[in-house]
Symmetry: C2
Subunit: 436 residues, 2 copies
């Protein structure tokens, strides 16, 4: 792409989906991004912005003419605009709202009522709904008129919402039922009334789980009184799942979910420096623990050689438990009822592995330094640190969650701090008492 001529690039962009274009822009170094952006077809620009990572999105918005932006926005769906408008200049948002007709403005304001990370911010308010007491034939006529008036039916329309005359939700009518029943039947006779209802304030990640559990393609959003307020389609859910995975995987390394590969060096450096700083604090805590035993190390330098092995094994054993527990919590599989059984399970595994590796490392240390007592102390410290790794790995995520901190993001740092400090203390402390 980078090398193709101007006209070639324009032609290629025409055939690419917004998601593909945004991925292509992200993979270009900074100086090549603006020329490519200028060539993106106007109809796609809005959706490309939506797919781009935060910083990059803001920088491209800054370089785009206001009139151009308003034109891009006019072809977007309400829920998409609502996800984007925090990054738009106020003047553009105002001009856009002014240009909307009453109907569109109403729907925009409805979506703006909800934060981006709940069902209300995810839903499309343009849900196509039909009354339960009409015939299938009337529905077909209605859909034909709708298409003629609007030019096309809403995207991803595979089912219609069925409402009663008070706009209360009754069920859904998959198009596959509409096309396979006799046209004189009424909607309420063939619709599916048992539908998983989603509330506007249901968090995004829970929406994704509901879709996954029930293999849904779309779902109605209704308020507490059962009034239909919108509709969520599976393509929104896929974005939620991707975001969630990005957040977890990048967050574990202290990276922002929106980290851009070619962000300006200064921005990236500052953001990463924060995480390095937190890590430095925990590393100095471990160093301070070692410092307590300076005298012992001076007398027996083998301690300095072996101590990182103890800390590292504790960290690895702990992170296995931590990952498993954090994952279980994300899937809602851990409750007060099974948490003690889980802890017992993890601690048994920790004890078994602790005993096994204690034996192995004791033998290695014995042969290396020719000192059976050093081997025993090393082994004992290994048992302690693997066991406490399992203990800490089980309870850190539970405690963090109760404190309102996402264990997937902060769990690793807290765990390493704990296992390092405990590992060094156990090994050097035991050695001081037993060997010196």
């Amino acid at each position: 792409l980078e090398k193709s001529s101007e006209s070639g690039a324009a032609c290629l962009l025409e055939s690419m989906s917004p998601a593909e274009i945004s991925r292509a822009i992200e993979s270009l170094p900074g100086d090549l991004r603006d020329p490519l952006w200028a060539q993106v077809p106007r109809l796609k620009k809005g959706e490309v912005l939506l797919e781009l990572k935060g910083d990059l999105r803001r920088s491209l918005i800054k370089q785009t003419d206001e009139q151009e932006l308003i034109a891009c926005l006019s072809v977007m769906q309400m829920d998409e605009i609502a996800d984007l408008d925090d990054d738009l200049p106020v003047s553009v948002v105002n001009a856009m709202v002014t240009a909307m007709d009453v109907h569109r403005r109403e729907r925009y304001e409805q979506v703006k009522l909800y934060p981006d990370d709940v069902a209300g911010g995810l839903m499309d308010v343009d849900a196509t709904a039909v009354r339960g007491d009409v015939t299938l034939n009337a529905v077909l006529r209605y859909l034909r008129r709708l298409r003629q008036r609007e030019g096309s039916l809403p995207e991803h329309l595979e089912s219609l919402m069925v409402i009663d005359r008070h706009n209360r939700f009754m069920g859904i009518l998959p198009l596959s039922l509409l096309v396979s029943y006799d046209l004189s039947t009424t909607v309420s006779e063939v619709m599916s009334p048992d539908v998983v209802g989603i509330k506007p304030m249901t968090p995004n990640v829970e929406v994704a789980r509901i879709f996954e559990d029930h293999d849904l393609m779309s779902a109605p959003v209704m308020d507490d009184e059962g009034y239909l307020v919108g509709r969520i389609t599976v393509d929104d859910v896929i974005n939620v799942m991707r975001d969630q995975a990005d957040r977890e995987i990048l967050g574990r390394a202290g990276l922002d979910q929106h980290e851009d590969m070619f962000a300006p060096v200064i921005n990236s450096s500052v953001r990463r420096a924060l995480w390095l700083g937190i890590n430095l604090l925990t590393a100095f805590l471990a160093a301070w623990v070692i410092g307590l035993f300076e005298g012992s190390i001076e007398k027996m330098v083998a301690l300095a050689v072996l101590m990182p092995v103890v800390a590292s094994m504790g960290g690895v054993a702990g992170s296995q438990t931590l990952t498993l527990v954090t994952r279980g919590m994300a899937l809602d599989q851990i409750s007060r009822r099974n948490v003690w059984k889980l802890a017992a399970h993890e601690l048994t595994i920790g004890s078994l592995n602790g005993l096994f590796w204690a034996g192995v490392v004791a033998a290695i240390a014995y042969y290396w330094f020719n000192d059976p007592m050093l081997g025993m102390v090393f082994g004992a410290a290994m048992l302690i640190v693997i066991f406490t790794g399992a203990l800490v790995g089980t309870f850190i995520p539970l405690i963090l969650k109760r404190m309102g901190i996402d264990p997937a993001l902060a769990g690793g740092v807290v765990l390493t701090t704990a296992t390092d400090a405990i590992g060094f203390f156990a090994f050097l402390g035991l050695a001081t008492v037993m060997l010196l």
Copy 2:
């Protein structure tokens, strides 16, 4: 659930989806799983098995009567059976195949041609297809007859595949077009001919990306000659995405993607011991590097206190780069063209952060040990290790991938080995040359 009475549980299971039931079984400790499994309605058992993690699935299959298993399988889709049958007893598979009618057996054998991790193993071979030269009215009549004959239309039918009379793929007909055009129009006039085609051997993760990029709800699978062989729906893709995220997140801690929270303790211990063993090797490599400088540590014990700080900061800086590069590779955003720019970008960030934290730690070490030269050596080692962390973090995933190893799984271990060894060597080596 655990506490509800037998009849209550049965009633609850009736209303739960297979995915929910499987999550509930997984969250129960071992001894409570069998009684719950016995109560799962037979119609759902097959799909519950499909959702369960590998080991648990096999253990429940063992406890289920063969006749019962065959009954469960008879209501499942071909692609589902194909995912399950490696875990089934041979006698059950044979009985199942014998009981199939010719048509069903043909489709089963077609799905079995492909491995589970490509489009061919994911697709549904029961794609509902219509000819391009018939009218929409004829399609409606066909669908009505199909529903009457089979009792219902295939699951997740939101579009029909359009083929010519040689069974060659022509396009797709979304039901939303079928219901909104005049019934005398022919299929080929309203269908969408521009469809993203998927080949049977396209890997699952690429299928997921295609669905994501184009916001698809379903896609045709066709062979090289353009013949339609099946259809993939978005619910299968969601499972692929979930599996991929599980694999990456659990794999980073050396856990199997199918790790079960309450697996028998011995099984879990053995599996985790493997990872601990690999880690022990790398930890001893670092210990060996320290061992090279025993003499220096004996003379200056502050080195032992500070050395874990150097190694740890190198590991963190490196893992930030590693995570970003691995993620970019997974999204196909890194190619030969931009890799050098990316490396330059990461190394610049590494240099800036290296310089900054070198200054900070030099000052801390100076005040702590009252030794300006120690501070300088500590700072210099910090710069070296953060810079090499960025260097190693960029190239490890590229090298691993070329070797055919998944960088998301092995990258972390290789990185830590490198940054530990380099960090200890740089710090202790510099100290030996400069201070002693």
